[in-house]
């Protein structure tokens, strides 16, 4: 898998792409994540937290689209390395450093 986008050009949120962008997701979508988790803690019913879940999904997908626009080559390389090594951070240090140099946190 060498490309992270589907036929329409949208980034597909696979596990390797999500793990590659995890640091960015953790900082940029932190508010939405925390709100969703708090809603879940209060009531685990999935129907009650659908709106916050949609906010989380939208935040993450927009972030992935921005990353794909700004530094698509490094992101593709990093996500491809993650896919090859099954989400082992230690085996992809080179691609990680280049990705963080291209799209700073």
């Amino acid at each position: 898998m060498t490309s992270t986008v589907d036929t329409a050009g949208e980034p597909v949120p696979t596990s390797s792409l999500l793990m590659a962008a995890a640091k960015h997701i953790g900082t940029k979508c932190r508010g939405e994540n925390l709100a969703f988790l708090k809603c879940k803690k209060d009531d685990p019913n999935p129907e009650k937290c659908l709106d916050k879940g949609r906010q989380v999904t939208q935040c993450v997908l927009h972030l992935l689209r921005d990353l794909h626009q700004n530094c698509s080559k490094e992101l593709d390389a990093y996500a491809g390395c993650m896919y090859y090594h099954t989400n082992e951070f230690e085996l992809c240090r080179k691609e990680q450093k280049e990705f963080e140099k291209a799209c700073t946190l």
């Binding site: 999500l18 640091k23 879940k40 999935p46």
Partner: protein, 143 residues
């Protein structure tokens, strides 16, 4: 010929007077042989050996501690990445589950519409909290 003919002495009366033929030491005797123990008493003392062992062991444990710190940092990185991702995954699963649950409730209403007194929808536990469905009907591909 016989031994007496070879080794005879002048004026010998019987064979018993023959000069002896023995294998003996060389003239002047052999060189002296040392057979006393001489184990040297030099080398490291007991305290030196103990300190060296203790030093090597503590250096090894220090290396183990350093390696553990590095491994823990790696694990923390992996856990932090998982913590960042899991709301997204849970939100996607919630969407999918809500759609499946609606279809399931409609199916249940269709099946039980002639049963008197059946409150379609949810007749789950009485504790008041939401519990995930316990049967395997919703994900037959998994079960």
């Amino acid at each position: 010929m016989t031994e007496a003919m070879i080794r005879k002495k002048a004026g010998m009366a019987s064979v018993k007077d023959m000069p002896v033929l023995q294998d003996g030491p060389p003239p002047g005797g052999f060189a002296p042989i040392r057979f006393a123990r001489r184990i040297p008493n030099k080398g490291p003392s007991a305290m030196a050996i103990f300190l060296a062992t203790f030093g090597v062991f503590s250096w090894g444990m220090y290396q183990v501690g350093k390696g553990n710190k590095i491994r823990r940092a790696l694990k923390e990185e992996k856990y932090a990445a998982r913590r960042a991702i899991i709301p997204m995954l849970q939100a996607e699963e919630d969407e999918r589950f809500v759609n499946e649950w609606k279809k399931y409730l409609e199916e249940e209403a269709r099946i039980m519409k002639d049963v008197p007194g059946w409150k379609v929808g949810e007749n789950v536990y009485h504790s008041g909290r939401w519990m995930p469905p316990a049967t395997g009907e919703l994900r037959p591909d998994i079960w």
